[in-house]
């Protein structure tokens, strides 16, 4: 006698309870507050905001806490929340030349108006575990200076003045919103950039790295990398003009890449562009390299068959929420399909076996 397995509902409830307990960990250890995560795990918070496509450090910190530190899970929580939010309208494009830079470096010019600002970077730290942090996390006050009031023009604008850099087409049309219209190919550059900025950091990094190693190499120099706060302005119809509705921190990377030209057309440098929420420079640089690789068609380059040049490959596989969902769904029950395969393979084996015996008999 056999009684069919049941109990999906109870199993789910118990699993959720256990999960909540595991998330909290040892209760003798004080609980993490959302504010602690927001302030002390800020780069994780930035990644969750960038890939979750929602600028809200507090909610991102809450998502990280709820997800037990699994950042893709946290990004998922933010995305699912984000879709439910009403749209009041679109802001004006942010003006990154007016950025209050915390960091601004150029690899192409030793100095430029606005200067190089190293900012709070890991770059020249020696990666030695700091055992002192295990006991005492307090930091000495960093030296301060008055913020520069001078504008910080984009390095690219100097190349632009000499017409050394290719000019980008301008358009009045508002580009489609990737989250509101289905992605159809070929995609405009605006859509590609939307997809890259919310794409998985590891995936975009890997794609960018592959271009450096020769899969559609495009010789990128970081003309400028800047991180800082910019004002977000929005036109208010009732007022008839734009007002500032808030401030966000973004990372912007512009690369200058090898030129194109011909006998009749003087050569010009080309560019790649990366813009990401928060302090996320690895992602912004990666994005700029991949953006540049994807522009091969408009720049009249050859398709080398490299993965980073393949718009369909990059755009369809960069989203970690789509990828992780589909990957992990294979742990769901598939007994029906497997059963049909079982029947098929048994039948095919039987037929092959019969053939072998028949041949042996002949």
């Amino acid at each position: 006698m056999y009684v069919a397995v049941k109990g999906g509902e109870r199993a789910i409830d118990n699993a959720h309870a256990w999960l909540a307990e595991e998330r909290r960990g040892d209760t003798d250890i004080p609980e993490l507050s959302v504010a602690q995560i927001r302030e002390q795990m800020s780069l994780a918070v930035n990644r969750v905001m960038a890939e979750g496509s929602l600028y809200d450090p507090h909610l991102a910190a809450l998502a990280i806490k709820q997800a037990r530190g699994d950042l893709i899970e946290a990004i998922f929580l933010i995305r699912a929340y984000r879709t439910t939010l009403p749209r009041f309208g679109g802001s004006n494009p942010i003006e990154t030349q007016n950025m209050q830079c915390d960091r601004r470096v150029s690899a192409t010019f030793k100095d430029a108006p606005g200067g190089q600002i190293l900012g709070p970077t890991f770059d020249y730290t020696h990666r030695l575990l700091d055992f002192k942090l295990a006991a005492d996390g307090e930091a000495a006050d960093a030296p301060t200076a008055a913020p520069s009031q001078a504008p910080t023009p984009h390095i690219m604008s100097f190349l632009d003045r000499e017409q050394l850099i290719q000019t980008e087409p301008t358009g009045e049309a508002v580009p489609d919103d990737l989250t509101r219209t289905p992605l159809e190919l070929p995609a405009s550059r605006a859509l590609r950039l939307q997809s890259l900025t919310r794409g998985d950091e590891g995936f975009i990094l890997g794609m960018a790295y592959s271009t450096q190693r020769g899969y559609a190499r495009n010789h990128a120099f970081v003309a400028e990398l800047r991180i800082g706060a910019v004002a977000v302005e929005m036109d208010i119809p009732e007022l008839g003009f734009a007002i500032e509705i808030g401030e966000i921190t973004v990372t912007e990377c512009e690369t200058v890449n090898q030129f194109q030209g011909s006998k009749t057309q003087p050569p010009q440098f080309t560019r790649g562009y990366g813009l990401v929420f928060g302090m996320t420079e690895r992602k912004a640089i990666s994005m700029a390299l991949v953006d540049r690789a994807l522009r091969w068609k408009e720049l009249g380059e050859d398709n080398l068959g490299a993965p980073a040049q393949d718009e369909e490959f990059v755009l369809y596989h960069s989203d970690n929420i789509q990828a992780t969902g589909f990957l992990e769904h294979i742990k769901l029950p598939h007994y029906v399909d497997f059963q049909s395969e079982l029947e098929l393979i048994r039948k095919l084996r039987r037929e092959a076996q019969d053939n072998i015996s028949r041949e042996a008999a002949e």
Binding site: Y2, Y335, L348
Partner: protein, 289 residues
């Protein structure tokens, strides 16, 4: 749960999805792109089906969810609870009492009526995907009705294995025009695709919706000398004795002993309630479930 709109999605989104559904019904088997939303469950776990269900459900509907034919598999439970919470609709396990049925990998054994809607969860909507990875190319192939590649694949199966080696997600041609993936249902279920009910297919991650209107011709691809054959395990259900239902195979002891039971749990239970008893079954009692 008043924080969210009826059935979770906002009305604008539902309208967008309904438009895609209507277009799908107007062009049977054609994959309509739609702006799939991020749902509070993972992509690949039925988000396409959930969005389609959300768009067609009304407060008066009675909803049923099955996964692998069963109402009590964990993901079916999870999706059913989601709509209980966000739409407050009545739910049932009885196929005949449901007005909307969301399914993963099966078509119920009991014949569906004209007043019922069957919503499929679809992982990869493109039947040509594993022959041609590029979406740009496969859309062209559909537009030009260029399905030779699929027939070559089926032919190669026969030359290598002596049989068409596709057991589930068996491709069909709808109303003589579009080749369509019926989602990963076993090919046993393919003949049921011609039915009185409306069939809607939702692929969330891939942002596609397609449909089969009632009484539409659906032909499983085959060759004259290798006709399509729906198959199932060559047994009767060990619980209810049914010989006409699709069966799950269970391993019941360390020696590899097997038993077979209906994958459609509602079908099996109803038969047992009607007094049918299989080889290893016991007469139905309410509490024994």
């Amino acid at each position: 749960m008043s924080d969210y709109n009826f059935a979770y999605l906002d009305e604008q989104t539902k309208r967008m999805i309904r438009r895609a559904i209507l277009k799908g019904l107007a062009i049977p088997g054609y994959q309509v792109p739609f702006a799939s939303r991020e749902m509070p469950m993972p992509y690949g776990w039925g988000t396409g089906g959930v969005q389609v269900s959300a768009a067609v459900l009304t407060p008066d509907d009675t909803f049923k969810v099955i996964d692998q034919g069963a109402d009590d598999t964990t993901n079916a439970v999870s999706i059913r609870r989601f709509f209980q919470k966000t739409a407050g609709v009545a739910v049932t396990e009885a196929t005949s009492q449901a007005s909307v049925i969301q399914t993963r990998h099966r078509i119920p054994e009991e014949e569906l009526r004209a007043d019922q809607i069957l919503v499929y969860q679809v992982p990869i909507p493109e039947p040509l995907r594993f022959l041609e990875p590029s979406e740009v190319e496969t859309r062209k192939m559909h537009a030009l009705e260029e399905y030779g590649l699929m027939h070559v694949k089926l032919y190669e199966d026969i030359s290598q294995h002596g049989d068409i080696a596709t057991a589930y997600a068996y491709p069909v041609k709808v109303e003589g025009r579009y080749v369509m993936d019926p989602s990963p249902i076993p090919k046993f279920d393919n003949p049921k695709l011609e039915m009185a009910g409306i069939q809607l297919f939702g692929a969330g991650r891939e942002q596609r919706i397609y449909a089969i209107p009632p009484y539409t011709q659906v032909v499983s691809l085959d060759f004259d000398d290798y006709p399509f054959q729906p198959t199932k395990a060559d047994h009767a259900c060990d619980l209810c004795g049914a010989t006409d239902s699709y069966l799950d195979e269970l391993i019941v002891d360390d020696a590899g002993g097997r038993m077979f039971m209906c994958s459609d749990t509602d079908y099996c239970t109803s038969r047992r309630k009607d007094g049918h008893v299989g080889a290893q079954g016991v007469p139905y009692k309410e509490d024994a479930a």
